[in-house]
Symmetry: C2
DNA sequence: TCCCACGGATTGTTCAACAATCCAAGTCAT
DNA sequence: ATGACTTGGATTGTTGAACAATCCGTGGGA
């Protein structure tokens, strides 16, 4: 009576995102299969899924390891974000249901800030941006965003200053939301563009200070 | 002495894109494994890859079938294209090497038009747009574009009026290229936006005439 | 020090088997 | 006949063991 089928990839994905397997860690088929209680073949299928999603890196005959985003990856991720997020905001309607998600995410991040729970702040921040992309109502763009957000999360895992990484953006999220509601999508899009440039520099700066390549 | 490893997914992908397996066709594991000369397990790994790429649809316990894009899929694909392509053109430099690919693609499509080889025209058209996306220098956006272009190709396969689908865009490609070189990316971006709206309507019209959902 | 062969470890793939699920055909009661 | 139910065959999901192919560190030899 085998385990949950395609959910294996999701379960493994979740554990990777939560940092259970540090970025760069090699994932041995035999070891991990036993740990997860599945066969090697089943695990390999999950590997192919996660590999396509960019969460793990697969080198032929050398196995897979948890992705360890480089600065080039971070740059590319933010490039993609600047292509998608401001445009989604510019075209989004204030009546779209995702606006409720944006509001809820901002409130969660503010609560996390007060509690100095940086992990919660980071999660809420990411939910905020995911809601922005949801404004576009595009499954394909949503899927791309889900993947690059997961990659970015891996990058964050390797930076050990979560406060500097997440705290400054709580107020910016609130401001962005109010701009969107009060002055419309076009104005908010410009603000978000600058926001993303600033965020990218913050992350790249932290990377540089940590001497990673 | 096993077959080419991860290339199996690529090989299968190629054969699907070329129309060897019609959209909607169910792909039996046992049958296809024997046809390809690989084991079921190996084939299943390739299935997971292609499924993540959106080329095949996987329904648990019911197997996989070649994706058969609906009108909703076409709409979403064009939405994603409008998010990416005009922005790539707007930010692209005329000195970027991809401009050479754009020029070459336009010339190939013109040659195909003269020879009334609609398949060649379609291929060249897609190469043209792929070159536009390449202007962005983003592996992640490029990968997304590769996937949605393949899906779109599947949609085209189900429409049996290739001339109406491809011919009108040869001259538009040439015009777009000249706008980009003469008047810059911003002007070209606007032109491309309208181009994509027109192209979407062309495809959706053909779909409707063929009574597909 | 450099180069190369060796050997253990890991991945790539196959095969055969069985469990779980689906689907269509046939059965039965109304 | 019609509709719900059961049954059986076919297909997918998963396993475990086996072997081939490749990689990599180790140690010898020049």
């Amino acid at each position: 009576m085998p385990a949950p089928e395609s959910t294996l990839a999701d379960a493994l994905r979740e554990r990777i995102i939560l940092g259970e397997f540090a970025p760069g860690t090699r994932l041995s088929e035999a070891t991990l299969a036993e740990l997860l209680g599945v066969s090697r073949n089943t695990l390999r299928e999950a590997f192919r899924v996660l590999s396509e999603q960019g969460l793990i890196e697969h080198v032929p005959h050398r196995g897979v390891s948890v992705a360890s985003p480089t600065m080039a990856d971070v740059v590319d991720i933010y490039r993609a974000r600047r292509y998608i997020e401001p445009a989604a905001l510019a075209a989004g309607s204030p009546l779209h249901p995702a606006v409720g998600d944006m509001t809820a995410a901002v409130e969660r991040s503010e609560a996390g800030l007060e509690a100095r729970d940086w992990r919660a702040v980071g999660t809420a921040n990411m939910a905020f941006h995911h809601a922005i992309v949801a404004l576009a109502d595009s499954p394909r763009l949503g899927r791309l965003y889900r993947d690059i957000a997961a990659e970015l999360r891996l990058a964050f895992l390797e930076i050990d200053s979560p406060e500097a990484l997440h705290a400054p953006f709580v107020s910016r999220n609130r401001a962005l939301l109010e701009t969107f509601l009060a002055r419309g999508g076009a104005a908010a899009a410009h603000e978000l563009h600058d926001y993303l440039v600033y965020s990218e520099q913050t992350v790249l700066g932290a990377f540089t200070r940590q001497r990673r390549g």
